[in-house]
Symmetry: C2
Subunit: 684 residues, 2 copies
C-alpha cells in the first residue's frame, strides 16, 4: 500500500494528472481527512453483501437498507440483489461502537474509517452517524471499471472539521413541497451535511399547521403549509439520513403572515394581508404587550413538542422599527423602560422569548441582530454579516454559525463560496478557546426567486463546495480539483432524483415555445443571473410572490461552466500554454456563438419569453465576432489598426452590462483577448 500525502492527493485529483496515474479519479466530495491508496479494487456485483460486526444492530439495519437502495440505483441492480447478511459472509462489514442518541445531538461523533481491499471492505465508526458518513464515501467510490462496478482499494480516515454543517431553505417566500425537500435531504446526506434549517415563517407565508392557533396556517399560507404529520414525516426522513431539523419561526419582524389571522400580535392596526412583494416590511410583533408572550409561550410550546431538535431558531433579523415608532403606546413603553433604541426594545423582546424557548427545554438561535451581551451564553448566533460579527460573538462567549458567504440565492460561482471560511478573516485571529465556539456554517437558500421547479438548480451542485468547506480540512482549497469533483458529484446526485440538471431543457423548451432549443441552450449556457441583490435593483417590473419564475434568468445555471471552460482556454492561449486542440476548441466556440443570434432569430417572434433576451443574443454574436477577429490578430501576430482595440473594448464594456437580469459571461475573456491582440496590458 502506498501512502499519499493529502497535498499530493489533491494534485493527483486534477483530472488530467489522475487519468495518467490511476484508472479513475477519486471523485470524493467532501474530501476525507486522510486517503491512502491501495492496490487493486473490490468488485461489486449482484452477490455483493453487507453485514454488521459483533451484533445485529437494529439501528444499523435501516441505514444499510438505505445504502443498498442507493447502491442499486447507481448500478441498476434489482431489489432482490445485494443482501444484508451475516458479517462472516459480507463483502462490506460495518461496525459502530455505540448507538445513536434518541434525538441527534450537536457534536455527536461522525468520524469513520473505511478500509477497502480486493477481498472485502470494513467500515468502522463510533456511532451509526459515522457509519452513514462512511457509506456515503463508499457510494462515491463506486465506479464502472473494466471488470465490473468496483470501489478502489483504499484506506480512509475521516471526520468533520465542524460539527454544524447546514442548509437553510426558506419555504416562507415560496412554498416548497415535501417531496422537493426530501430529495434535497438526500443530496445533503450525500455530501455529509447534518442540519436542515427549515425557515418556516415569513411575511409571505406561515407554513406549519398549528393546532393551537390554526388561523396561522389557515389565513397565512394560501393553503400552502405542512401538516404536523408531514413535519414528523420529514423529521424522520432527515433522521434516517443523519440530519437534524432546526425550525425557524422568524420574529418579531418578517411576520406579516402571522398577523393575517392574529392581528392583535402586531404593533400596528390591522387588518393584514399576506405580503406579495419582497423586501423588509414594517409589521412587527408588539413587544410591549403581555398577550404577545402568552401567545408565543403556547405557540413555542406546541412547536418545540413537534420539533425534537435541541435548537430552536427565532430569526430576529431585519426589524425596521417603523411600526414601533408609529405606536405611542410602544414609545411610552420604551421610555418607561429606559430603552434608547428599537434595538434595545428588540433585545428586551429577545430576552423574553429566550426565556420561553429555554422554559420549553430548547436552546435559542437567532441571526446576528439578536446578539446582546446580557443574553445567556448558551444561545447560538447565526451570522449573515460575516466572520467579524461571529468573532465578536465568540469573544463574548457565544457560539456561532457562519452564513455570510454561503447565500446560494446571491448566485455566486462555486469558487467564491468555497473561498469563504468560518475561521477566515476576523475569525482567524481568535484564540483556541474562542475559536471552538465557531460551530460551522449553513448555506442559505432564500426563496424570492426559486420555485419547486428551480430550487434544485440553485442549491446543487454549488452546495457540495460549501459542504466540503465545512467538512474537510482548511488546507483543502484547490479550486480546479474542487470543480472537477463538483462536476462528477453533480451527475452522481441525479441518482437521488435531484432535478438540477434535468429541469434545464424543459424550461428552455417552455421559453422557446419549441422543441428545438439548441440555439437557446447555446445562449443560456454562457449567461448567468446578475449577482447579489441586483435582480431586485435592476428589475423593470416589481417582482412578487405571484409572478411565474419562467424567464431565462430562472432557467440558466448560477454558474456558466461553458464560460469557465472558455476562460480557461483563453488564459492558456495568452499564457502560451494552449495546444492545437485548445486553440481549435476556442475558435469553434466563438464560431458557434457568432452564428447563434441568427439561429435563435426564427424563434424570437413566437415567444414572449424570448423578447427580452434578443439584445443579449445579439450581443453574444457581436462579442464572439470580436473574439474571432482578436484571435486572428493574436494568432497571426499582426497588430490591429490603432482605433480597433479601443472601439471593441468600448463595445465589450457595453456588452458586460446586464440585459434582462442576465450577464454574458464570455465578455471578460474576449476582453483579455482583444487587449492581448492589441498589445495592451491586461486590465482588471
Amino acid at each position: 500500500m502506498r501512502n499519499i500525502s493529502l497535498a499530493l492527493l489533491i494534485t493527483l485529483l486534477a483530472p488530467l494528472a489522475f487519468s495518467q496515474s490511476l484508472p479513475q479519479p477519486l471523485n470524493l466530495m467532501p474530501m476525507p481527512s486522510s486517503v491512502q491508496m491501495g492496490a487493486g479494487q473490490l468488485v461489486i456485483d449482484t452477490s455483493f453483501s453487507v453485514g454488521v460486526r459483533d451484533r445485529a444492530d437494529s439501528q444499523l439495519q435501516p441505514i444499510l437498507e438505505l445504502f443498498l437502495n442507493n447502491l442499486r440505483r447507481q448500478t441498476a441492480m434489482p431489489p432482490q440483489d445485494m443482501k444484508i447478511t451475516d458479517a462472516t459472509q459480507a463483502r462490506l462489514v460495518v461496525h459502530a461502537e455505540h448507538g445513536r442518541k434518541a434525538v441527534q445531538e450537536l457534536g455527536e461523533d461522525e468520524s469513520y474509517s473505511l478500509q477497502i481491499t480486493p477481498a472485502g471492505a470494513k467500515l468502522d465508526a463510533a456511532t451509526p452517524l459515522g457509519v452513514m458518513r462512511g457509506l456515503q464515501t463508499f457510494l462515491q467510490l463506486v465506479h464502472t471499471s473494466a471488470d465490473g462496478f468496483a470501489v478502489p482499494a483504499v484506506t480512509i480516515q475521516d471526520k468533520p472539521r465542524f460539527p454544524w454543517r447546514g442548509l437553510m431553505i426558506d419555504v416562507g417566500r415560496h412554498f416548497i413541497p415535501l417531496d422537493v425537500l426530501k430529495r434535497n435531504l438526500d443530496g445533503m446526506a450525500a455530501v455529509k451535511l447534518n442540519v436542515f434549517h427549515w425557515h418556516l415563517s415569513e411575511n409571505q407565508g406561515f407554513r406549519v399547521e398549528s393546532k393551537r392557533y390554526p388561523k396561522l396556517q389557515e389565513m397565512g399560507s394560501d393553503g400552502l403549509y405542512y401538516t404536523q404529520s408531514e413535519v414528523r414525516d420529514l423529521i424522520a426522513y432527515a433522521r434516517a439520513r443523519g440530519i437534524r431539523v432546526v425550525p425557524e419561526f422568524d420574529m418579531p419582524g418578517h411576520s406579516t403572515a402571522w398577523f393575517v389571522g392574529y392581528p392583535e400580535l402586531a404593533s400596528g392596526p390591522g387588518p393584514y394581508e399576506i405580503e406579495r412583494k419582497w423586501g423588509v416590511f414594517d409589521p412587527a410583533m408588539d413587544p410591549t404587550e403581555e398577550r404577545t408572550y402568552k401567545f408565543l409561550d403556547k405557540f413555542i410550546g406546541e412547536m418545540t413538542a413537534l420539533f425534537p431538535d435541541k435548537y430552536f431558531h427565532i430569526g430576529g433579523d431585519e426589524v425596521n422599527g417603523k411600526q414601533w415608532d408609529a405606536n405611542p403606546k410602544i414609545q411610552a413603553f420604551k421610555q418607561a423602560h429606559g430603552f434608547k433604541s428599537n434595538a434595545d426594545l428588540q433585545a428586551y423582546f429577545n430576552k423574553r422569548v429566550q426565556r420561553i424557548v429555554s422554559k420549553h427545554g430548547k436552546i435559542m438561535i437567532g441571526w446576528d441582530e439578536v446578539l446582546r451581551p446580557d443574553l445567556p451564553k448558551e444561545i447560538v448566533i447565526q451570522s449573515w454579516r460575516g466572520q467579524a460579527s461571529l468573532a465578536e460573538a465568540a469573544k463574548q462567549g457565544f457560539r456561532g454559525l457562519l452564513s455570510y458567504g454561503y447565500y446560494l440565492n446571491l448566485m455566486w460561482p462555486a469558487w467564491q463560496h468555497y473561498a469563504v471560511d468560518p475561521m477566515g478573516d476576523a475569525a482567524a485571529s481568535l484564540n483556541p478557546e474562542d475559536s471552538q465556539r465557531i460551530l460551522g456554517g449553513e448555506a442559505c437558500m432564500w426563496s424570492e426567486y426559486v420555485s419547486p421547479e428551480t430550487i434544485d438548480s440553485r442549491i446543487w451542485p454549488r452546495m457540495a463546495a460549501i459542504a466540503e468547506r465545512l467538512w474537510s480540512g482548511q488546507e483543502v482549497k484547490d479550486v480546479s480539483s474542487m470543480y472537477a469533483r463538483m462536476q462528477a458529484v453533480s451527475g452522481w446526485l441525479e441518482w437521488l432524483g435531484l432535478t438540477h440538471n434535468t429541469s434545464y431543457d424543459p424550461m428552455l423548451r417552455r421559453i422557446a415555445g419549441s422543441d428545438d432549443v439548441s440555439a437557446l441552450r447555446t445562449l443560456a449556457d454562457v449567461v448567468e443571473s446578475v449577482k447579489d441583490y441586483q435582480r431586485e435593483e435592476v428589475a423593470t417590473v416589481q417582482a412578487t410572490s405571484l409572478a411565474p419564475l419562467n424567464r431565462l434568468v430562472d432557467a440558466v445555471r448560477p454558474e456558466s461552466m461553458a464560460a469557465r471552460r472558455f476562460a480557461g482556454l483563453i488564459d492558456a492561449l495568452l499564457a502560451g500554454k494552449a495546444d492545437y486542440v485548445d486553440r481549435q476548441e476556442a475558435q469553434s466556440l466563438l464560431l458557434l456563438w457568432s452564428g447563434n443570434a441568427s439561429s435563435l432569430q426564427s424563434l424570437e417572434a413566437q415567444s414572449f419569453l424570448l423578447k427580452e433576451v434578443v439584445p443579449l443574443s445579439r450581443n453574444l454574436s457581436k462579442v464572439a465576432d470580436v473574439g474571432l477577429q482578436a484571435l486572428g490578430y493574436f494568432e497571426s501576430g499582426k497588430r490591429p489598426p490603432e482605433s480597433w482595440a479601443a472601439e471593441q473594448l468600448a463595445m465589450l464594456q457595453e456588452a458586460q452590462q446586464q440585459q434582462a437580469q442576465l450577464l454574458l459571461m464570455i465578455v471578460p475573456s474576449v476582453k483579455k483577448l482583444v487587449e492581448a491582440s492589441a498589445g495592451l496590458p491586461a486590465q482588471k
Copy 2:
C-alpha cells in the same frame, strides 16, 4: 371562422406546412374528430380562471384542480395563481350534463366539445369523463406565443372511436413501484387512455397483499408487492384521471409464485421457488381438485372486493400442459370427463373460474386461449394473436380487445404499432353488429426487460401513437404528422414527471463510467434493440429477473429518431428532393459517425459495460465511411469501380446483424446510397 376538413388539417399538421400558415402547429394527440380553426388566441396569464356552469359540481372540482396543477406546471405559474371561480367570471367555463358513475363503466360517455375564442373558452361534455378528456386537449393547445402563454381560437368536437383504450403493465416479472405507475397513469390520462390493466401475478412474482392467503405475497414476492391500501390509493389516483383499473391474476399457468406459499394448488409436487428465468414454465394449477376452486373462490372474493371495476382478468394463456400430462390423477380425470386435450381441461377450469368471477359480480376477461363457444357471451377476449382471432370471437358473440400489434416490449417503431387497427385485417369484414363487439385495444408492457428506471422509455412516447389509433378515426393515419406530434407530446409529457427522456444520460454515464458521454450518445442515438423475441434468441447469457438492466440495449430508445431523420435525408437525396442544407446535414452526420469509434475508444478500456459494444462502435464508423464514399460518388456523378459496390454491400450486410442485441439503424440508408451511387436498382 374557417372550416378546415380533417384531411386538410392533417396535411397542415406536417410541421413545415403548418409553420407557414399558422403561428404554431396544433400538436394534438390523439387527433380530435373535428377541429375548426378560429381567428386569434386566448391568452393565459396569472389571472386565468376556470368555473363550472349551472352548478358547483363537486365531481368537477377535483378535476379542475388537477387541470390547474398541470397548467401551472406547464407555465410555471405559482399555486396561488389561476383560480377556480364563479362561471360568470371564468375564462374557461366547464359544464357536464350528468355526474359520473360511482365506479367508472365501460362505454361511459367521453365526448366533449371545446370552443375557444380570444374572449374565453367553453368546454361542454355529457359527463365529467368528457370534461377530463377536453381539459387534456386544452392543455395540449397551450403554447408559448408572442403575447404570452395562449391557446388558439378553435372549435373542437371530439369523442373516442373505441370505448376500451388501455395499457397493461406486467408488474410480475419486474416489480414496478407505485410512484412509477402513478406517473404512467398521468401519461395515460394525457393521451386519453381509459383502462389500466394491472398484470399482478406471474411465475416471477405475486404482487398484491392477500389478507386471506398471506403466503401469496409473503413467499411469492421477495417482499415486492402492493399493500391493499396502496392498491386502493392507485385506484383512486386512476379514477381521478378517468382511468379504470382492471386487475389480472393469471391462471392456471404463469402461477409458480402462488405455489411457493401454496404448493397444494399446483398439479405437480412441490416445493416451489419463485421463478427467476423467462419463458413458459410447467407449473399450473390443478383443475381437477375441488380445493383449487375453493381457494380461488375465496381469493377472487377478496380481490373483487378490493378492485371495484366490473371486469376481472384471469389470464388463461400459455399453459404448456406438462404438469397435467405427468400427473396420473389428472389424466384419469380427463378420461373420466371425456376431455380429449389439455385445452378441453383448461376450458373446464375456465368455466369453473368464470362461474366464480360471475358469482362475485364481475365479468371475466381472458387471453385468446380462454375462447370456447360454450362460455357465457358476456366474457371478453383479449387477443395477443391478432384480428382473426378477435373476429372469430366477435362472430361467436364475444366481445374482444386487440393487443396483438401493441406489444411495447417487442421494441417496434411507432409507425408499426400505428399501422395496426383493431378493425383491420380479418376484422375489417365483420358485419356491423359483430364489429360492435370489438371494444378497442390495449398496449402491453411485458416486463422481462424493463425496470423502474427504463419502463417509461419503453412505454413513451410510442404509447401515444397507439392511443391515437384507439381514440381517433380510422382515417387518421398520416405517419409523418403522427411522428411530428408524437415528438411534441414526448417533450410535453415530461411535465408529468415521466422519465423517458431524462433517464437516458444518467444510464449512458453509468455505462461509460464517465461524465463525458458525447461519443457514447452518438452511438446510442443510432442503434435500437433487436426486435420481437430476438433478445432472448440471440442472448449469450441466459437472462433472469436478477440481472441488472444496465447495458446499452437497456439504455437506447426503442426507436432511433436520428436514424429516422437520416433515412429521410437520404430518401430525399436519392429522389432528387434534397436541398443544400439537407445534403450538408447528411454529410455532417456521416462525418460525425465516421470519427466516433475513435472518440469512444478512450472509454472502452475502463468500462465492462462498453466491451460488448466495441464491434458495434467500429461498425458505425465503417458504415459511415462507406456512406461518405457513396455520397461522394453520388454527388459527383462518378461511378465507383466495379467491385466496390459488391464489397460494400457485403460489409453492410454483415453490419446489419445484431451485435450485443443491438441493431445499427443507419445501415439500410447507407445501403440505398451505395446502390444508387453504383447505379444498382434499390433492393428490399
